[in-house]
Amino acid sequence: MFTDLSMVVFTVFAQMSVGAFIVLGAVQVYARVQGGRSAEDVDRVTDPALYAVGVTLALGLIASIFHLGTPMNAINVLRHVDSSWLSREIAFGLAFAGLGFVFAATQYFKWGSAALRQALAALTALVGVGLVVSMSMIYASLDAVPAWSTWVTPAQFAITTLLLGSLAVGAAFMGTVMWRRRQAADEEAEEPTTDAGDLETISTSLKGIAVASIVLLGAAFVVIPLHLNELSQGGAAAVASAEVFSGAMFALRLALVFLGAGLLGFFVYRFAARMESNPQPLAVVATVAFGLVFVGEFIGRSLFYESMTRIGM
Amino acid sequence: MTAISDHPTSSDASPGGISRRSFLKWSAVAGGGVALVSGTRQLGLLPGAGLSASAQEEASGVETIWSSCNVNCGSRCPLRMQVADGRVVRVLPDNTGDDALGSQQVRACVRGLSYRQRLYSPDRIKTPMRRVGERGSGDWEEISWEEAYDEIADSMKRIIEEYGNEALYLNYGTGTLGGTITSSWPPISTPFSRLFSLAGGYLNHYADYSTAQIQGAVQYHYGGWIGSNSLDDAKNANLVVMFGNNPFETRMSGGGEIYVSQQTREQAKVKTIIIDPRYSDTAMGLGDEWVALRPGTDSALVAGMAHVMITEDLVDQEFLDRCCQGYDDEHLPDGVPAGSSYKAYILGDGPDGEAKTPEWAAPITGVPAGTITRLAREIATTKPVLINQGWGPQRHVNGENQARAIFTLCALTGNVGIPGGGTGEREGSYGLPLANPFVIDNPVEASIPVFAWTDAVEKGPEMTATNAGVRGVDRLEVPIKFILNYASNALVNQHGDINRTIELLKDDSKCEMIVNVENRMTVSARYADIVLPDTTNAEQMDLASQGSAGNMGYAILASQVIEPLYDCRTVYEMCTELAKRLDIEEEFTEGRTQEEWIRHILDASREDIPDLPSFEDFKEMGIWREPNPPEVGYVPLQDFREDPEEHPLPTPSGRIEIFSSELWEMAETWELPEGQRITALPEHLSMQESAEVARSDDTYPLQCIAHHVKQRTHSTYGHIPWLEEAHPHVAWIHPWDAEERGIANDEKMYVFNDRGRIRVSARVTNRIAPGTVSVPHGAWYEPDEQGVDVGGSPNTLTSWLQSPIHKGNAQHTMLVQVERA
């Protein structure tokens, strides 16, 4: 368990970053198109989460270094982009980080027009998708590892990306709300800490996140049995891999994700409607939901690495 | 020429007549002395690993020097050691000779190739040490060589004075085997034997842990050691039948019997049947059919087949009448009642009144009656059949009869003394008749069975010729009081019932002095009073005699490769220093250094081997082969078969004694332990802890044997990281037995009986008969705080049980239970 800890941290954090970035983009689009709010207004909601994405991605990239036996040679991993999905992953990862950094900077300093920044964000999101795709192809392209070389790998990576991204954004939004309330309380301010429009945006976003997480949970619970079925039909290595997905850790993983994304997702939806009067229950539920799913996905990714049983000898 | 040796002890695998003069033998079993202990295992730290391949090429000082691997595997391989800056950096196989039988390249096996890790093992004993706590406590003080020599010499003098020379004992040990000066076996050819003999002598032992029962069997059956047809003679056979013979695992040298049998099979493609409780690597690589049977029941299988052959009139009556005693009542010696013949025994006309039908043999052996019948017909109707046995079948409490039953199968089918046939012994092979003038006689006559030394420590004067197999005298005068244990792990690890043996040794009022000469801290060395650090053969020069290699003769001049490590010294120097203190230095050395002795031995050998190269040339060539025409295989007893009157065997009747007159008498006169019998015929005997007992024993329902394994030669090469990685210590258990106990492959299990308990990994495999587990022989005993042997030595489970005739070690006879750990 957790033998490939650095890889688990890297892939989970990077995917969460990409997912969160995409979800933040979705919030932007939805709030402005459907909610009719200004870019500046929505930025006020999304920017703190955006900066958190940056921190998360940086942590993931740092973790990836620990996987290397000779980190001094790390720069060499870009030498084989024409053939190696691992080179591509790193290339996309660096591009995503770079573009994300530039985008965050433009947001912070309000450089350039909103449209330009939107375009930059869209490009960053696209590169992020490229990152997740190349990341999953690293594994899906390995004929020697039946547990990985299946459509399930990209599917599960996509689900993780969106599920963790959504719940992370939800938790970040509510964290921001609660942090601002506390700060306001400390300063004994009379003005509402978050304006009503922002709260509306957040409430709507959380409802969307709740719906998304339940849908993604459904998808995950379709993919997992299909994967197990596929492995059971395979050769000895596939069958051996499937054993990893049978123990207590696997059950815990399913339970955590189910509780976090399903049950709490339901409550997130319910509480989101009432958050204007009292955001605290929603904040708690959204944070717990994220926490449970994060732990569940972390265990899930560890099991994914543990399922690496090669064919041959 | 009838090739029979009069001293079974000194002939155990060579065709006696060919190599009588060489003290070169290879017994394959139990002894082996090597190494162990102290916590610090070497994990991938390679001494000499500093040089990369390219750096090595560039380094000016890399030199390749011939050495050899001198252990008791039955083979003997040259090693080419590459040295840089005084350290061995590579160990390379032989690169001379070719692939043809008779001149084959003698490529070292997996063990020899790991020699570097043995040489630089962290277990090496670095300096002389004296015990300070109780025996086995592991508390030592370092002492100087002078102190050590003085104390040992004083102890020897005192014990000789107080008890006489019969109280001195050279324990059986085969950790350094094949050298001429550095040989630890046979005892007569060790330098300590020379030293002790010059000092008045020492208590002898006869036979060895490898072959004790079969040596007893040949003595009464054929009158001495003959060997069976060599394995390259299989080309002349139309069927090969091997009982418990496993050259693929026990003769692994690329110049040895695995290569001989493999090449012969490829060329002649003779059908081969392997009879063994294990689907051995020989069954896999050489066999066409595997007959799985319960351990210790070969004699019942033979009886069942004999019934078919006799009742279907398939026996070679002419051969039996002409060359054998006691096949039928018409050929019994005078004075023996009718019904005492083998035929009567088989047909149920003997005293037990039970016909030994295939249906009788089936439940004993586990082999279906139909299979027994089919085998009997095939073996009896195919001519000729090369029949031999390894030394597993005889390492049982009924081992003499097991071995004799297989000899008898050869007589029944008339396969003795013909090309493509066999005597039923283990394969013979050619051996160079090296001289050894270094060896002198032991003036003490008294001799005990090799496995009975613990009895001799415990109750020596109670041991007599008829109750304990004592030879040379009627009764021992004194118990053993001084043990010199040179390159031997048979003091503890390779002896039976380790826990009981340790209890005996802890009492230092019994055996008063134990000196251990060893290069690694073995299990046995832990129980010494004084430990002397020996050099390995890489650290000194010696002439090594050959191993069993079919028809090829060879010898190896192993040079000194590096300077002695630490404060290690050669046994020759140790003996010289002790001789000085015993005032026999001049007699011991005859004024020669070790190298001068080797030159002297070479010169003396040239008398019988005129082509032997000069010392200087030999040193350069490392291995020297005697060219031998490949068509000449070893076929014993041809002259006897042709004319038994003219070439009688040294048995009382001069014939093959299926009915042994001597055993007939011993059955009357010898005092045997409860439940044991001596029979004049090779009857199947169910005695202590037999296959039959197992099936009615609810407490210990499994038979346990100890197969020889690739990781070690006996216990030598134990705890070598590369070997432990390549061949981890795993005990074999049948899937049915494992499933019943909830044990999966590679899981830990306990194997235990009243004598002890080991913890070992399970190899759940359908390559072993149900009801039998096999714990690989030679693992190093390592008790934890609860007394569980986590090293997994099978001798934690074996006993001191001796066979009735030759008092051999019955180390494959034990019942156990297994449970999940």
Partner: protein
């Protein structure tokens, strides 16, 4: 294209002694855990019992394998640094100066040829004893096999001499990497994918 080198393995002669494995370790100073040539025991079958008797119907074989210097070296394809590369003579080798030690090649190879050496922090593997061959010597495993079960040489010649069998359990489907390997199968050899047996010594390979 220059001559492409490969290995030959005579399974009928292998007794699983692993002299090849240790000869390789001695030659290349490999620590425990880094094993370029390994030997698997593959087996299966069943037993029947009838009363107090039993009859086996079992099989077992050994398979010695190192790097097969494949026609399609997936290890080199996936290597992000190009440290893993194929030479003109077909030998697949690691360039220490480039290797980052990500172990991706280890995942990709169904023969476990690339092996991570933690002491070095980089991947290592069989290079068919390049230095020995340059001196006119045989690779250590070939020279060290007591049963002469191994050979090496231009793969065309090996195939001409020994045939083209390379799909024997427990080896993977050769279509994945197109190994330059020729096997003389043991009589009990099972075709790859037959599913009739399993590796019996999984911790050793």
């Amino acid at each position: 294209m220059a001559t492409q080198l490969g290995f030959y393995f005579d399974q009928t002669r292998c007794n699983g002694c692993k002299a090849c494995q240790v000869a390789c370790k001695d030659k290349h100073d490999l620590p425990v855990g880094v094993t370029w040539r390994r030997v698997a025991e593959h087996g299966g079958g069943s037993w029947q019992s009838d009363g107090d008797t039993f009859s086996p119907s079992v099989f077992a074989t050994y398979m010695s394998t190192a790097c097969n210097h494949c026609e399609r070296p997936v290890c080199a394809e996936v290597c992000p640094t190009t440290a893993m590369h194929q030479r003109d003579d077909g030998v697949v080798a690691v360039d220490d100066d480039l290797c980052v030690g990500c172990r991706y090649c280890e995942w990709a190879c169904p023969y476990s040829a690339p092996q991570y050496n933690a002491e070095l922090g980089s991947m290592t593997k069989c290079d068919l004893c390049t230095d020995y061959r340059e001196e006119g010597l045989e690779p250590a495993c070939v020279a060290g096999c007591p049963s002469r079960a191994l050979d090496w040489g231009p793969i065309d010649e090996l195939r001409e001499r020994y045939g083209d069998v390379d799909a024997i359990e427990p080896l993977p489907d050769p279509a994945i990497t197109e190994p330059r390997l020729v096997i003389t199968p043991h009589r009990d050899a099972q075709m790859t994918g037959s599913g009739t047996g399993t590796i019996k010594n999984p911790l050793e390979v």
